[in-house]
Amino acid sequence: RYARFMAAFTHISTEIDSIYKQLTRDPDHPIGGTAYLSLENDEEPFLHGIKYTAMPPTKRFRNMEELSGGEKTVAALALLFAIHSFRPSPFFVLDEVDAALDNVNVARVAAYIHAKSRENAGQRNAGHSFQSVVISLKDTFFDKADGLIGVYRDHDQGCSRVLTKRLTTHD
């Protein structure tokens, strides 16, 4: 039990920083932010907590509560993707995770998801890629998708219906 827990912890804490950097770097800050996990107790980690810290570029506070709405969203997605890399599920379903993101962060997150969703069976099992199902209201997010499922309300029948459309992918 201890060994399994530590295997998960070590793997995820090495991945988290590089994923967070991919999601936060830009021309002004080519390196990006810093993210790390720390154990409250080394001897019996599963009896105590794991602390997550993410610091956006140029910010120097370690208290996650003080991050802004958009900064918390980016930190959360980095953690989710890092956990996935240890225990890869074949797909992700994300419902309006871009609600608090400004256009720059939407573009970065969409680009990351687009890059991770490339079809490659070997990559899938190794945790390097996954199928993505994303619900979004922002065209700067969904125009990066391979295909759209448009949901509309059929007023006469009082129910939902869908239309599908493939997008020509741009790599």
């Binding site: 995820i12 969203t73 956990i83 619900i135 499922i149 129910c159």
Partner: protein, 160 residues
């Protein structure tokens, strides 16, 4: 593997039998407020075995299509089938239904199975419903980053 398509039958706002898909590597679900986008995520979560209280319904009955409050009393069946495309190209289907007596019923390739068998088959594909780290419901994303240290440990236990 990956999700190929969904077949929903009287699930939430989806009346009658509707086939939704195909799902590609990166599929976006779009549409106006109240159209039924989150209900599609609920359909995926439901067929994987997530409890109805996470799907904005206090009981299974609430997940069955109804035209209005009066029709909620009408006894209807509902089900969601998720057709999964395996690495070797073969299709595997998972179906979860709501019977007339409002109980859950699980099927793999249209054969009724127990929840344990159903869940074990999903685990073998890497779908860990208990951890749910691959499902982010509307409005929940920010709270992932401010989970308490204890909650994070619990999540790590589920996936290790």
């Amino acid at each position: 593997g990956s999700i190929h398509r969904l077949e929903v039958d009287n699930f939430k706002s989806y009346k009658g039998h509707q086939v939704i898909g195909p799902f590609l590597n990166f599929t976006a679900i779009i549409g106006p407020n109240g159209a039924g986008k989150s209900n599609l995520m609920d359909a995926i979560s439901f067929v994987l075995g997530v409890r109805s209280s996470h799907l904005r319904g206090s009981q299974l009955r609430d997940l069955v299509y109804a035209y209005d409050d009066k029709e909620r009393e009408v006894r209807r069946k509902a089900h969601v089938k998720l057709v999964y495309l395996q690495g070797d190209g073969t299709e595997l289907s998972f179906t979860r239904g709501i019977t007339l007596q409002s109980a859950s019923e699980y099927r793999i390739d249209d054969k009724v199975v127990s929840w344990d068998e159903y869940n074990n088959k999903m685990r073998s594909l890497g779908i860990l419903v208990k951890a749910r780290n691959f499902l982010v419901f509307q409005g929940d994303v920010e709270s992932v980053s401010t989970k308490s240290p204890k909650e994070l440990t619990a999540l790590f236990e589920h996936i290790s």
